[in-house]
Symmetry: C2
Subunit: 271 residues, 2 copies
């Protein structure tokens, strides 16, 4: 870790602790919940407060940063390929946050000149912090995560986003085929927590439809640092430039996910 | 809690602690994994060891008990309606145990003269113990669980067993309709852990196909003690006498699950 990365790392750890305490305190009060695009797409006063807190901290400590945040308190436009860009999701899994008061995460990713340098996913209620530093691996509560066994889809558990259960063809067929192939299906309702599951080897593959950059950015570096693979449905590196449908897995499982998409001719229709 | 229930309660808590330590220790060694009916239906040396340990403890402390255990070390036949019957699942979620080394539970239920008296679900790796005493409520880590809000399916999260993703009609249609109705789908891969999720209000409904008595017994009392409802697909009380397909939910969500089954004429075809 060079001096700049170390400085950001220590700052981020401090902010995550403060943010987690704010969230836990807010859970004692009535949440103010608003619908965004539909009844499953929610935002609360806490998402907004935490995003504003993180943005203020970043701006004070690293004033030249560009910031992209889910709730829109960051910059209106960012150029991922130049300078330092912070991508933040104050609460990933807001539906879980509202309905379960657990199973959600704070996510932060930092890019320098278009390259992911460090990223953080913090499962607040079980105090599980996973982070990755480019070229230095990923860590779960400060323990290096070892590369998961390179198991194929039929040798492990498969996770997906809820959308696959309510979609129409060919999404349904895609999901049905993968569910039959895998040993079982698991579903947490947070793209960040699913990235942790894959990194730990708890699942071998994960598919998600139309994710936003803040859903993908932090997980991507963690996935790559443990030797797993993340792409769009077309097999391309995620651009983090708008909505993208994402597959991630062990190298073997990712190849199976991609070939399943190709067989269904979905890779260009759906992404 | 009368003297007998108290004596059993204290014994069970001690056994669960010892069993959890045995399991955690065993996770450091290579597991011996065998397939039962298919590649997703596994048993390990640890399931067998823990069942034998629990049965030995029960027989030493309460020698008149009948015992039904998943791995078959208990009695060959039991009469649930007479005397004291212990129903145990040494590791519920064995696929998670093998693949994730977390997200599994030890389950114990005690019946007197056909009536559930006390039951225990212990999520070993996150140290979450949920138990219920008939007429005295359910507790999560010794905190009384309050009755979850009586939310309907469209107001909450829906959980199911993996089988619904790989089934054929009308199971697929049933599952698809419910997934569309709910705010989202969640899936843990353990009937015991899903009972905890419902009891805590994290989900509003859960459906599972062809569960065995040891999958259902401990969860049933917990669900009922928090004011939720559990029946077969036909709306009957589970008999715990062989395979049964199960729905559980808040009173409102359970009614919706049952009417969805009736609309699909599944209640008599599938159970």
């Amino acid at each position: 870790m060079n001096t700049l990365i170390r400085k950001r790392h220590e700052a981020i750890l401090t902010w995550l602790d403060v943010a987690a305490e704010k969230i836990k305190k807010a859970l004692h009060d009535e949440l103010e919940v608003e619908q965004k695009t539909n009844p499953s797409d929610l935002v609360t006063n806490v998402d907004k407060d935490i995003e504003q807190f993180l943005i203020n901290q970043i701006k004070m400590t690293f004033p030249k940063s560009q910031i992209l945040g889910e709730e829109g308190y960051g910059d209106r436009t960012i150029d991922l390929n130049h300078g330092t860009v912070w991508i933040i999701d104050p609460i990933d899994g807001t539906l879980n946050f509202v309905k379960q008061k657990e199973n959600f995460a704070i996510m932060i990713a930092v890019y320098d000149e278009g390259q992911a340098i460090q990223s953080y996913i913090y499962n607040v209620m079980n105090s599980e912090l996973v982070y990755a530093i480019k070229g230095e691996g990923a860590y779960c509560n400060n323990q290096l995560i070892k590369t998961p066994d390179n198991l194929d889809m039929h040798e492990g558990l498969y996770a997906s986003s809820s959308i696959f259960y309510i979609g129409s063809e060919p999404l349904n067929e895609f999901h049905h085929n993968l569910s039959k192939l895998a040993l079982g299906v698991r579903l947490k309702g947070s793209a960040g927590l699913e990235a942790i599951e894959l990194a730990k080897g708890n699942t071998v593959g994960y598919t998600a439809h139309t994710l936003m950059p803040w859903d993908v950015a932090a997980g991507k570096l963690i996935i790559e640092e443990v030797g797993c693979v993340i792409t769009t449905f077309a097999g391309d590196e995620p651009s983090l430039n708008g909505k993208e449908s994402i597959i991630m897995g062990t190298p073997k499982a990712h190849r199976t996910l991609l070939s399943t998409l190709e067989q269904l001719h979905m890779n260009h229709n759906i992404c």
